[in-house]
Amino acid sequence: MQIDFSNQLHYFWALLPETVLIVCALLLLVVDGFWKGRKGPGRAVGSLSLVALALAAAANYWLLGVAEVGTTGAVAIDSYRIFTNFIFLGAAALTVLISFDYVAREGIDLGEYYILLLFCVVGMMLLAASRDLILIFLGFELMSFAAYVLTAFKRDDPKSSEAGLKYFLLGAFSSAFLVYGMALIFGAGGTTNLGVLREILVAGDISPMLAGGIVLLTIGFAFKVSAVPFHVWTPDAYEGAPTPFTAFMATAIKAGAFAAFIRIFVIAFGDLHIYWERSIWWLAVLTMIVPNLIALVQDDIKRLLAYSSIAHAGYLLVALISANESGMASFLFYLVAYTVMTIGAFAIVLVIAGKNDRLQRIRDYSGLGWTHPWPAAMLALFLVSLAGLPPTGGFIGKFYILRASIEAGYPNLAVILAFATLVSYWYYLRVIVSMYMRTAESPLPRLEWSGSLRTAVAICALITVFLGLLPSWPLLKAQQSVEGLVRVTERVSDSFGVVAQR
């Protein structure tokens, strides 16, 4: 099928995955309200939300065969979007799978949990799809509002409420930065369409208004992807949120923000690379070093993983700053690896924590490797992958990012990344030391992990190892997905004429 954005109706087809998901979410709200079963609607809605995600994935797959003609619209149809959509949907499905146990255990087994998750995913998909500043803002707000509520979902737990409030305040704050920056850029460029912006903003002709806009936008994004020094909300929000949702925040939400980040900076501001690379360079360096150092002294494993996820945002920033084809492809590849290993790690953490999340200190993991070999082995695998050791997906991903940064002429970033990785070894190893080399103070009781959670962990583990041993195919896919991103600019000149006439 061909999509021509001069025909407004075609937006429906262009946004089919989002439409499918949002309709399903609304239907589920109704199902939730009228549910008459004995055991409460939670589980059923959860299972149905998996179906919804599958439908959206099918629609997303259908998009592969769709071609864009004519002018550029507000929505991109390229394999970059389709690839990231698959990441979001996969992450959401894994999150649903690991949530069943948790919500039942913590007494928050409500249908809204899954429905909000779906709305959150719709927001992210809009972010990845949008080729327009307004739509990006819309996507952010849709994603964030659902996320604020989900963070505070354990209403009776003061920590969770605190986390929700903090996240909300700082999120709103950063949205203000974002929207103000967008307004200034609109003022400088006269359009909100990214492709057209690229044509208008040629290098060397940078006005103070545009500079201000880029700075504010950078700050807003730095908040959203939790780059240092705008990261202070992250550990608290991650610690307080329900653990499965923490996994989702650390992976999908970050990925969504990054997807838009890349679209704006690499597409719209691609020619202005020399103006923004310095500031992002510093952001990347700080984001790699600071959280890795702070993580060294964490005793709570959830906080440790939170800091580790901030550090990983730093690695992704290195891919972003490279701004070349392998940079983008390495970003996509790393995102896949990072998503599965992080969700896997959080899944094990939530199983071991037990009722009311009591056992979350690293000390509680003592001797786990010998009393509970399977969960410990899985956690060790995910940590090794997060640390970036072969033969895991994390290693190939990091390797790719290093390669991209060297190709783009940033060997200094590569060396800093290597040092940051070295520091990170220490705290990942701490958990492994605790699990395998110390003896248990009080042995853990029998763990309760249902079939769905086990399935999720197994999927994560398989993908982690698969990406490490046979990276050829996923690498190819990532590379192909990026080609579309760059090609966008070729067609912009058509639409440029249209806008100029207006």
């Binding site: 090794v384 050791l389 072969p390 033969p391 290693f395 390669r403 990785t421 690498l475």
Partner: protein
């Protein structure tokens, strides 16, 4: 017979040797604890028996890679599963496979908990080590290099002695520090190749052809050299080694000393020097390296002499011996490189045996303190005979294996750096100075500790471990020719290759090759 001989000339034999221990190791995880050591032993024995014929099927005098194969792994990046054997790696491979069953036997009585995981780690380590020695693709090499880290880390950290966690983490972080910088250097090299030839490739042969800009050359060499220097370990980077050795279980110490350290030397020989011949032949770099070796030889000899702990003493002797080997490598004459390689094997055998014997003492008395022993010759004569022979081999007594290697190294190095060689030759005297007093205090002296009077001599199992090692030591000392025959051509070819690589690029007559030194066409940002 032709089938078998074909097999031994194909890559399948190497592939089997690399992956079989790892697979067997994974299997070990699922075997009940009381049967697992038997399975592990059979696996290791099969591994050795399969590898042994390589010694004879290896074509002597052929300096190219034998059993070579290159199968695309990640074609887009030019990464291939590419392995091969030459005179430099052959004996190291055989040393590794020979020590595998021995380290299983050593652990037989000493490891009594968590056995499945222990043997799994031991065998996985085997896969990593063998992979390092056969890999001819730098990505593959790096993967195997890192794969050795985790099993060793667990071996030290789980089954080690009191300060095991400290030692394990120190070992891991030191090694990882070097290898991460190597990774960055490797990627820069890869990028240069892509820039100059237009195709991505990590193949060893391809990267050799890259001409590295002068400004980058030293940095890249440093990236590689640091990783290898830490692993060897050269003098100022050696502090992780005594800790790791003292805390590791016996089999861990044996493999660490005998094989893992050799990976560092092998890295110098195979990668750091041939990839950057101009740097490796730069007189300043050689001076630095030789001084580090010299300091290592002399300083660690003195430190070893005052160690109260047997294992720590042996660990320091390792540093001194490895200093000798690296000296031979950097002197870069055919004889000294040959000597360096054979000395790697010798050191593996003699130091490995010393660690085994120390472990046997510990098993009986639960102490490594030299002062807790004395006069053992009267109680355990067989044990003491083995200890004395091994120590003498380690010192380099003619007729035992250590002499051959040291002699060749000194002979080769003397031609080029007479003063350095003279100074380092004092290390041979120091070797006697630190090992013989230890022997005297353990084996002779008065038998004044009552606990020592009831020690049991070597059992049959322990004899089965020690005797093959001793026989090999004597054999290599008395008749080293078959071993040297296999090493020397490759070593000489390597030395030749390094000199010619430099000469050609600096020879103004050879215009074509001088061009390769010119900065590449594309502008760098």
């Amino acid at each position: 017979m032709t089938l078998i001989s074909d097999l031994y000339h194909s890559h399948w034999i190497v592939t089997f040797l690399v992956f079989f221990p790892g697979l067997a190791g994974l299997l070990c995880l699922f075997i009940p604890a009381r049967r697992v050591k038997r399975v592990a032993f059979y696996a290791a024995l099969i591994e050795f028996l399969v590898s042994a014929p390589l010694f004879w099927t290896f074509t002597i005098g052929d300096t190219s890679f034998q059993n070579f194969v290159s199968i695309p792994w990640v074609p887009d990046w030019g990464i291939a599963y590419s392995v091969g054997v030459d005179g430099i790696s052959l004996l190291l491979i055989l040393l590794t496979t020979f020590l595998l069953p021995i380290s299983v036997l050593v652990s037989w009585e000493q490891i009594n908990e968590k056995e499945p995981a222990y043997y799994a780690m031991l065998l996985l380590l085997g896969t990593g080590m063998l992979g390092v020695f056969v890999a001819l693709d730098l990505f593959l090499f790096y993967v195997f290099w890192e794969v050795t880290l985790i099993p060793m880390y667990f071996l030290i950290g789980v089954w080690g002695h009191n300060r095991r966690i400290y030692a394990a983490v120190k070992f891991f972080l030191y090694t990882a520090f070097g290898s991460l910088l190597m990774l960055v250097a490797l990627l820069v090299l890869f990028w240069l190749h892509l820039d100059q030839f237009g195709v991505p490739s990590f193949a060893y042969a391809d990267l050799l052809r890259v001409s590295v800009p002068v400004a980058l050359r030293y940095w890249l060499f440093l990236g590689f050299a640091l990783a290898f220097a830490i692993k060897v370990p050269l003098f100022p980077f050696h502090t992780w080694l005594p800790d790791a050795h003292v805390e590791a279980p016996t089999a861990g110490s044996v493999l660490l000393a005998a094989v893992l350290l050799k990976m560092g030397v092998y890295g110098f020989l195979r990668f750091a020097i041939p990839l950057f011949p101009e740097v490796a032949l730069d007189q300043r770099v050689i001076l630095v390296m030789l001084v580090l070796c010299l300091l290592g030889i002399i300083y660690t000899a003195w430190v070893a002499a005052v160690q109260p702990n047997i294992k720590k003493l042996i660990a320091y002797t390792s540093v001194a011996h490895l200093g000798f080997i690296v000296l031979g490598i950097f002197a870069m004459t055919g004889a000294s490189v040959t000597g360096g390689i054979i000395q790697m094997v010798n050191h593996g055998l003699s130091t490995g045996t010393l660690f085994i014997l120390a472990g046997l003492l510990y098993q009986r008395r639960h102490t490594y303190e030299i002062s807790d022993y004395g006069g053992l010759a009267k109680v355990v004569p067989l044990f003491c005979a083995a200890l004395v022979v091994t120590a003498l081999a380690s010192i380099g007594l003619p007729g035992l294996n250590g002499f051959v290697g040291e002699f060749l190294i000194l002979l080769g190095a003397f031609q080029k750096y007479p003063w350095m060689t003279l100074l380092s030759a004092t290390g041979v005297i120091f070797a006697a100075y630190y090992l013989l007093p230890m022997i005297r205090r353990v084996v002779w002296n008065a038998l004044d500790k009552p606990e020592n009077e009831k020690l049991i001599d070597l059992t049959r199992l322990e004899l089965a471990v020690v005797v093959p090692l001793l026989l090999l030591m004597v054999l290599m000392g008395v008749y080293p020719k078959p071993f040297l025959d296999r090493i020397a051509p490759s070593a000489e070819a390597l030395a030749e290759q390094i000199y010619s690589a430099r000469q050609l690029r600096h020879d103004p007559v050879e215009g074509r090759l001088v061009l390769r030194d010119a900065p590449s066409g594309r502008e760098r940002r």
